[in-house]
Structure formats: structure tokens, C-alpha cells
């Protein structure tokens, strides 16, 4: 025979299970901003190996002094702001992200005039979800294993995403002759990559699992064959 307290606990457990089931589980596509913060939080949980002990030379190294002077001059000239420069792109570097801009916006549309969908997809991927707007379209493709490919189409004037730069290094490349930058990040055997390219009228961002060359080739195939366009 259960005591009053035990009966109450049992009832609480049953009610909690019902209430938990009633909480909706939304098929929400988390924003880039959220994903950046989440990845940053998870990476901060990784244990860092202890740094190797440095030998005490007892002498101040001249080259570090020269480097410090050069850095100070650069900071003075740029007003204390560290800039990111690449062919076709520029950005402001912060401690854990870069705010990216495209260099040339002249003559580009003020709004999204035609929505661009991928015409070439890796095997198994289908259109999962998309949202359209005046200055940005956000499209998700997914396969049966839950892997995503994101395609974001930006109006050039409104292109200013915050891009994670912790353990990530952007390098210049091209997509079908268009200026581009890309980067990849690997952890625990998994690799994710992202690429931005300045197409004639819009800036595109594509990201997903795989190496940066894989993502670049996918972007190039779509530029060469042409996007599926809708108004």
C-alpha cells in the first residue's frame, strides 16, 4: 500500500508526462545568429590541452616588439577597428565574428526581384523549407539523414551577416568566375563549410556538410546550369 506522499509523487509524475507531451515541438529552422552562438557555446566546452611550458630565455625578443609596433600603427590608422579584406568582400573583425559586406553594390537590385532555387542538388536532397522577403531569401534542402544545405540569397545593399570566425579562416576563391570567399570547420570527424559569392545581382551564401571545395563545386554547378528562378 503506497503512502500519501508516494501516491502524490506518482500522480505528479503522470501529470508531468502529460504536460510535457503538450509542449509543442516546433519544426523551427534556427537562425544563423542562434547557430553561431550555439556552436560557440559548444566549442567553449571543449577542453583545451595545456600549453607547453615555454623556456625562459631571459631576453625580450626583438621580433615581437617589431610586430607589436606594426600592429599599433595599423590600429591607429584604422581607428582601432580590425578589418577583413578579400577580393570582392570586406568586413569588420570582432572577437568571435566578422561582420561581412560586399565591396561592389553599384547597379544591383534594391529588392529580391527573382527568387533563386538550386537546380543542381546532391543525391537525396530535396527542398525542405523556404522563406522569402524583400531583401533576403532563406532556403533549406535536406536529405533523409537530416543533413541540411542552406542557400541564402541577399540583396547586396542589405548583405551584412555576422559570421563566426572562431577556429574558422576565410580564403578567397571564385564561383564560375565570380568573387567568393569560403571556409570550413572540422570537429570530431565532421566537416561543415560555408561559401559567399558575389553573383551579378545578388550575394549568395551556401553552407552544409562537407569540405569547402565540395560546397564551392556545388555552388559552381548551380551557377553554370542556372538557378531555378521564380518571382
Amino acid at each position: 500500500m503506497l503512502s500519501g506522499e508516494q501516491l502524490l509523487k506518482q500522480a505528479f509524475s503522470e501529470v508531468a508526462a502529460i504536460k510535457y507531451e503538450q509542449v509543442p515541438e516546433c519544426r523551427h529552422i534556427f537562425s544563423l545568429r542562434y547557430r553561431i552562438r550555439k556552436n560557440k557555446l559548444l566549442r567553449s566546452l571543449e577542453r583545451k590541452s595545456a600549453p607547453e611550458p615555454r623556456a625562459h630565455t631571459g631576453r625580450f625578443r626583438l621580433k615581437y616588439l617589431v610586430l607589436a609596433i606594426i600592429m599599433a600603427c595599423v590600429l591607429v590608422l584604422t581607428g582601432g577597428v580590425i578589418m577583413f579584406w578579400a577580393d570582392g568582400f570586406k568586413g569588420i573583425v570582432h572577437s568571435d565574428h566578422i561582420r561581412l559586406y560586399v565591396s561592389d553594390i553599384e547597379g544591383s537590385p534594391e529588392t529580391i526581384e527573382k527568387c533563386c532555387f538550386l537546380s543542381v542538388l546532391p543525391e537525396g536532397f530535396t527542398l525542405e523549407h523556404y522563406t522569402t522577403g524583400y531583401s533576403m531569401n532563406f532556403i533549406v534542402y535536406r536529405n533523409n539523414e537530416g543533413e541540411d544545405i542552406f542557400l541564402i540569397q541577399y540583396v547586396k545593399k542589405e548583405f551584412d551577416p555576422y559570421v563566426n570566425n572562431v577556429d574558422v579562416e576565410f580564403t578567397e576563391t571564385t564561383v564560375n568566375g565570380y568573387k567568393a570567399i569560403y571556409a570550413e570547420h572540422s570537429k570530431d570527424g565532421f566537416t561543415d563549410s560555408i561559401i559567399f559569392w558575389d553573383s551579378e545581382d545578388y550575394v549568395f551564401e551556401m553552407s552544409g556538410s562537407g569540405s569547402k571545395e565540395y560546397i564551392r563545386e556545388l555552388a559552381e554547378k548551380n551557377e553554370m546550369s542556372g538557378f531555378i528562378e521564380t518571382e
Binding site: S13, V15, A16
Partner: protein, 179 residues
């Protein structure tokens, strides 16, 4: 700030635990937050803040049985969402002048053969959500007031009084059900 999180998570087991929580509960937490906030960005902020709170209390949460973790995490997310809502509406919490309350309430004398399991569940369903949550954490998860205070980011004395008042309200509902 990041170094604080790093120091709180000491083992690979804890890190794996957090990653598993993301996989299992992230969307549910978003659903709970959006239900209150009705704003995607605020709901995402609430989920992110909830995971920070979880990391701050990771040792306590790992001791919670797996079948109770789900709603426990939903409670954290809901409370953070309510705080966000209050801040947005600029409504300030009243300063409570609360003394420590000794809680000697026992339900063994209150629950008798006149009550069926169904009627006890009905009484519990009648509780306010805030009462249910604090009793869930205290009675079912067997957390002391100090631990609950850390999870809900409120003072231990406030938690003690909430537990006491929630139990009193539940007893009143049960007595009414018996009549």
C-alpha cells in the same frame, strides 16, 4: 565569460551530456519558449539562455533521472521566457520581504482512501503552473530550495515560500475534492 563555462564543464561526460540535451530537447524548448513569447528571436534567446543556465547547474541536472529531465528542462526554459516577457513589458518584480519558512507539511495525512489516483491527478492539474513547477522540482526531483533557487535564478527564501504556499494550495484543493 566563455572561460567561466569552460571551468564549469569539467569532464568529457558532461560535455557529451550537453550535446545530447541539445539534440533531444532543443526544439521542445523552443516550442515552450515560443508559446510564451510569440517571437522567434526572443524564443531563440530564451533557449540559448536556458542552456547557459543548464551548464551552470550541470552537476545537479545530471543527477536527475532521465525520465524526469525533459520537463525539468522545459521548466527552466519557461521561467527564462517569463523573465524575458516581464523585462520587455517593463514590469518589475515586487521586492519580497520573506523570512525563511520551515516546511513541515506532509501529504500522508491529507491523501486517504477517499481519493483515487484519477482524482489526485485532477487536483494537481488544477494547480497554477508556477505552483506545479516548484512542487515538481521539490517533490519529484527531490531538489532542496537552494538548488531550485539556482535553477530558477531566484532567492532561496523565495523558493521556500513558494513551495510552502504551493503545498498549502494543493492541500486546499485536495480537501475540497474529498468533500
Amino acid at each position: 565569460m566563455l572561460s567561466i563555462y569552460l571551468s564549469m564543464v569539467e569532464t568529457d561526460e558532461q560535455r557529451t551530456f550537453i550535446e545530447q540535451l541539445y539534440k533531444t530537447y532543443e526544439r521542445k524548448m523552443y516550442g515552450a519558449a515560443f508559446d510564451i513569447l510569440h517571437n522567434k528571436h526572443d524564443a531563440e534567446d530564451a533557449v540559448h539562455s536556458a542552456f547557459i543556465r543548464i551548464i551552470e547547474n550541470i552537476e545537479k541536472i545530471m543527477q536527475i533521472p532521465a525520465d524526469k529531465q525533459g520537463y525539468y528542462i522545459v521548466i527552466i526554459c519557461r521561467n527564462i521566457s517569463i523573465d524575458i516577457c516581464r523585462k520587455k513589458n517593463n514590469s518589475e518584480m515586487p521586492i519580497e520581504n520573506i523570512d525563511e519558512i520551515e516546511d513541515r507539511i506532509s501529504f500522508d495525512d491529507v491523501i486517504d482512501s477517499r481519493l483515487t489516483a484519477k482524482s489526485i491527478r485532477k487536483c494537481i492539474f488544477s494547480l497554477r503552473e508556477s505552483d506545479f513547477e516548484v512542487l515538481y522540482l521539490n517533490l519529484l526531483c527531490e531538489l532542496p530550495a537552494a538548488d531550485i533557487a539556482g535553477i530558477l535564478a531566484i532567492k532561496p527564501t523565495t523558493v521556500s515560500q513558494r513551495i510552502y504556499k504551493a503545498k498549502k494550495r494543493l492541500i486546499k484543493i485536495i480537501e475540497e475534492q474529498k468533500c
